[in-house]
Symmetry: C2
Subunit: 342 residues, 2 copies
């Protein structure tokens, strides 16, 4: 049976701030499902700041999205037709399904992974948030890159975002002495204190960030988990304790700059304070995904970790929802729901 598949494709490479018009809506007929193939109907699409980097024609850890290609994104969907014995109709699956309504595959792992089954009893969107790439990124950052130590003074930027919110809470669970999150606006800061149960919150839109860092950490920051780069990283370098560690997860503040913005002018603090800055990406740690997901599932099920998902609706709103990340609008994981499970 034929299906009409709507897709958001990359129309032009964004210059500076990404715009809705950098994507174009296209239609494609899927004539049917051949032997061995699986057709997935996408239910939720996931958005991450790192996707912005995939739009630039530069060498990076994965190839850029090409002009005319469906925008690359992880998503969760439901098998609507299967001629592959590995997948039954109705099965919930996740993978790099892209900004489209349907995903046709023969089920073999592609360059960005194949289809994964959504575990029973888990709300499907959860595999895109705390049990997905952003949750696992937080997990490996706190456990493996610079493992949190008992009593550490921990600072997390982007702390109301999908990765930061999980990282900050894992640090709390793993014995940090104090955990303070940085986020934009009083609502997010309230969430950090009341829901995520952090020890402090800094509102970078309304407070003097460096002054507040120093108030919260008079003896300095032992571990800074950075998702934003830019001025907040620069301030944090001044607020670090001697021998402090900086886990560099991302730098959303610069992702839409036309050319790389100036780096942290306080970089010599790395020498003066004998800091260690370490960058990482999820792919390098994915072999340990099983343990990460097991722990994250237990913590989110028990409520030890508060999980927030910002769910927009309507496939036509996909590019607009992507922009929310860079406008600082999302609290927790940014998702869009484009269909109901059957």
């Amino acid at each position: 049976m034929p299906y009409t598949n709507r897709q958001w494709r990359l129309a032009t490479r964004p210059v500076g701030m990404v715009k809705e018009s950098d994507f174009e809506l296209a239609r494609e007929e899927i004539p049917g499902v051949a032997d061995g193939e699986v057709l997935v109907r996408n239910l939720f699409l996931a958005f991450e700041p790192a996707q912005r980097g995939w739009l630039d024609d530069v060498k990076s850890y994965i190839p850029p999205v090409q002009i005319g290609e469906v925008m690359r994104a992880s998503a969760v969907g439901q098998v609507v037709e299967s001629k592959n014995p590995e997948f039954a109709e109705g099965q919930l699956v996740s993978g790099m399904l892209g900004w489209q309504e349907y995903f046709l595959t023969d089920g073999t792992p592609g360059p960005f992974g194949g289809l994964s089954r959504v575990p029973d009893g888990v709300p499907p969107q959860r595999v895109l948030s705390v049990l997905g790439g952003t949750g696992m990124t937080a997990y490996f950052g706190i456990h493996d890159v610079h493992p949190v130590k008992e009593g550490d003074n921990v600072l997390v930027s982007g702390a109301a975002g999908a990765t930061g919110s999980v990282a900050a809470q894992i640090a709390r669970i793993r014995g940090a002495g104090k955990v303070v999150g940085i986020a934009g606006g009083p609502d997010k800061c309230r969430w950090l204190l009341e829901e995520a149960k952090l020890d402090g919150a800094i509102d970078y839109k309304n407070e003097d960030v460096l002054k507040r860092m120093r108030e919260e950490f008079p003896n300095g920051v032992d571990l800074y988990f950075d998702n934003v780069g830019g001025d907040i990283l620069d301030a944090a370098l001044l607020a670090m304790a001697e021998h402090g560690r900086v886990t560099m997860c991302g730098g959303i503040s610069g992702y839409n700059a036309e050319k790389p913005p100036p780096g942290p002018s306080n970089i010599m603090q790395v020498v003066i304070k004998r800091l260690t800055l370490r960058g990482f990406i999820l792919f390098d740690h994915i072999a340990n995904a099983g343990q990460a997901i097991a722990d994250l599932a237990a913590w989110s099920a028990s409520g030890e970790i508060a999980v927030e998902e910002d769910i927009q609706e309507g496939f036509e709103n996909t590019p607009k929802t992507f922009l929310r990340l860079f406008e600082g609008k999302n609290l927790g994981k940014q998702l869009i729901k484009i269909a109901d499970a059957l």
Copy 2:
């Protein structure tokens, strides 16, 4: 017996580039040597880029030099009068003796260390260069901060300077696959190739630094030992291999800036390439100085490490000699000779 001691004292805190007039020449009478005291006549004074940082009134790893204080510096001298049984007249000693002709002490270790005996058979100025702070800094950077690994592709900036020249050569001795130094001008680059026996040299004054880095290291730099910061650090981030290590020893390019210059705009390479940047200072490693000096003494005596010392003369030329560091004039360790040993 009374002595007239000439001293260079800090007159004003430098703004931007340090100037000779930031120091003033003063005279002080030393009426005599009391019981328990030792009077040292300074022979050689040592200069390091880090001394520039001690002139700024900011919190750092050691307190700033105060206005009116003798400029802090390591030096080597000879005991000319001793009423302390620990030190005999004629003994060669080193320590933080300062920019002055005489140093009077009761011999007990001060905040920046006491007097150390110069080992027999070692030219006294050597304890300020390869066997001194800059040589040991190179040693600990290459051995402890990010230990060089067999086959590593190693890049060193400030490679004709006191620390860089030693670091690059230790990396060569310790099994690096390839060692390339960055220095300013053809004379220094020739020295790197012919005397220090490095595998390559990049002249940052006359070559496209990033292009040359990529030519020398088509597979990327595994270990970058940075003494300069600024644009060269920024370029190096682009030239690093995945999982590369950056040993951050200093940033001379920015030491005379009126305010901290912009940091490396390529800082997000730390995430993309999963780099580790680690800063250090010598003080943290000083407990292992014995092994460092033993190895450095053996390598320099055997000629495995080429040691270069740039020795100016005349106490009146002390501030001018300090400026040579920031004018890029010195090849190897910058020293000044202010008296002959008796």
